[in-house]
Amino acid sequence: MKKLLINLAYTLESSKRYYKIKHFFFEVLEDENSKKRKYFDIFMIFLVLSTVAILIYEVNNPLLPWLDNYETFAIIVFIIEWLSRLWVSSHARKHIIEDYEKSQLLAKPYEILPSLKKIAKEKFSFIFSPMSIIDLLAILPYYRPLRILRILMLFRLFKILRYTNSIKQFRYVFIEKRFEFLTLGILFLMAITFGSTIIYIYEGAGLNPNIHSFFDAVYWSVITISTVGFGDISPVTLQGRVATLFLVIGGMAVIAFFTSIVTTSLHEKMEIIKEDKIITEANSLENFTIICGYGRMGQVIAEELFNIKQEFIIIDNKQENISLATSNKYLCVLGDATDPAFLLKVGLVKGAKNILALTQEDSVNLSIILTARAHIPNINIIARANNNEAKEKLKLAGANHVILTNETAGIVAAEYIGQPVAFNAIDDILLSSEGALIDEIEILEDSKYKNSLLTKIDFSNYNLTLLGIIESKNKKFLFNPKKDQYILQKNDILIVIGYKESIIELKIDLLAKKGEHK
């Protein structure tokens, strides 16, 4: 027996298939990032709602046989689901292997019992977890002798909690505000006790025809304190009426207190839920840019990136900036970009290609650079500096490019003074979305122009001007190469100026494979 279990544990441990199957179940049932789980959740919600609908239908209608079968099917699914959850909740074989190897190491005989105990403990802790109990209660009413417990079917509705993430958050509201709710509960209980005792003492002895027992008194005070006031029981004596007055005033206070607790904590939670949603969205992005600081520079960059449909997320620690970004419908989160944990949360490692440190403080930018560089060695970091000294330091910290705003402005101003026409032309090329633009075109592996002379491409026919080529072999820029001497290589990048339509035309031609005709 002992040997059999040990053997089984080792076989499972080494079996790739077992691992795969278990992982599949884990993905479907528990993995929050999995698509499979999403579909499974939707299916389960449908199943739960449909069985509850059947329950409602049955109240006044005869039971149809196929509905009964449907119910059986649903129960089987629930049972399989619960058993699978029990299975993936912990790894039983690991305990056996661990304990067995430990005993081998210490050269002691292996006892199976402690391992089994550990396994049982883990499994039981799952069985008695609140969600598992709800699952079981949802299955229970199917058993015929327990049909009286049909009301437990409604527990299935609680099962839905399991399948929806945002509702889950509301559960935490009650857990977090335990203390407030406890105070409220005691207050409520005291008021009820007072009220029902007074009414029972004064009117319970036959004075009030509607109060027969203490339960009636409690029922009356709960209805009164909650300001519902059905009026089926009402006080008839003066003492009873005075008690009612106090109860009603107290009731309003209790309700105000209760409402304020729930609304404030729900509001807090809503912010977190919203933020979570943004972060999940950011995590699903690929090749995106993180913009740290939505100031004057950040705003311009965000706008440009948005125009060319590049994805980005904005991080800023000022609420007003975040509000501004939100009003522009950009993806943004409030937070401290110098906090590594926060940067990781927004997907720094997962899919960020560029990170821009654009805050006004050189020290903050430095911190962002270091954090980013420490976690991803090859991310492209561009930072803003305020003076030359800071520029050197930011480069030292690992920024790929550092922009000194005043320096760039100075160069631009000087260029404008010297050669305004040329300057405007270049400015135009770089900035305008219409008109002429400058673009990079790469010669791909299977392009028909690979290894042919540059004269083969008739640039003037396309109305394009070739500025130069970035050679694939040394990444150097070759200005205005001699067309009858240069032979195009794979991965050469042509830099051309021209109108959008012409560039697209040339790109299509270049993409055409060898032997193909346009």
Partner: protein
């Protein structure tokens, strides 16, 4: 004689601009009402004048009508002073080139209305540079090489002189472009408009005296090209 440039207010951006301009061989004159700023400017080797340009008489004293003055920069950190000085200078001298700093996109329009020819917004320029770094890094690198570094590739504006042999020639017939190994980006025809016409637009333009060609090339090629154009 060296061309002069007047910079009003020696702010941090002014410091950078002055430095770049001096490298490009301009005579830089700093005007500032504050003694401290002027002291700093003097140390860096600029000619200085102490004056507040909030008064018209002080502006007149600067003699901005002088042909040797190429441009007037208004670079105060205070937006209102910039507006006031820009408007005053434009009001007194119609044909001087005024370049004014702006710190927010919202101010751009007002400054242009006050009479500036060009706005320098350091944040916007820096941001656009970052954007290009992200979007087209190779091109930015290439342009940096051409425009800002010591490489021998340069951009040159060449205005066709009167009585040039190329007056009346079509661009497509301008064989010297290829002979000299330069690239023609395009041209500006003052008679038609101030807009720049790109060569790649595919329009065969007829050259007149006064047209400005923008050409790219290695310096000795450009020199050769220029000689040919100016040959009568």
């Amino acid at each position: 004689m060296k061309e002069s440039i007047i910079i009003y207010s020696f702010s941090s951006i002014a410091e950078q601009i002055a430095q770049t301009l001096q490298k490009k061989n301009y005579h830089v004159i700093i005007v500032d009402p504050e003694e401290d700023s002027l002291h700093k400017a003097k140390k860096l080797g600029y000619e200085t004048k102490r004056a507040s340009l909030m008064k018209d008489e002080n502006i007149k004293k600067l003699n901005l009508n002088d042909k040797s003055i190429k441009a007037f920069f208004c670079l105060s950190d205070n937006k209102n002073i910039n507006l006031f000085v820009t408007l005053s200078v434009r009001n007194l001298i119609k044909d001087i080139k005024i370049i004014t700093v702006s710190f927010s996109q919202d101010d751009n329009k007002t400054i242009l209305l006050a009479g500036a020819d060009k706005i320098i917004n350091p944040y916007e320029i820096g941001a656009l540079r970052i954007f290009r770094l992200l979007h087209k890094p190779y091109i930015l690198d290439m342009l940096d090489n051409i425009l800002f570094s010591e490489s021998n590739i340069e951009v040159e504006e060449i205005t066709i002189p009167k009585d040039s042999i190329y007056d009346g020639v079509f661009l497509s017939e301008l064989s010297i472009i290829e002979d000299c190994n330069v690239i023609l980006l395009g041209l500006q025809d003052k008679e038609i408009s101030d807009n720049f016409i790109f060569y790649s637009k595919g329009i065969d333009h007829k050259l007149d005296a006064g047209d400005t060609l923008v050409v790219l090339g290695e310096s000795h090629h450009l020199q050769h090209f220029k000689e040919l154009i100016f040959k009568i």
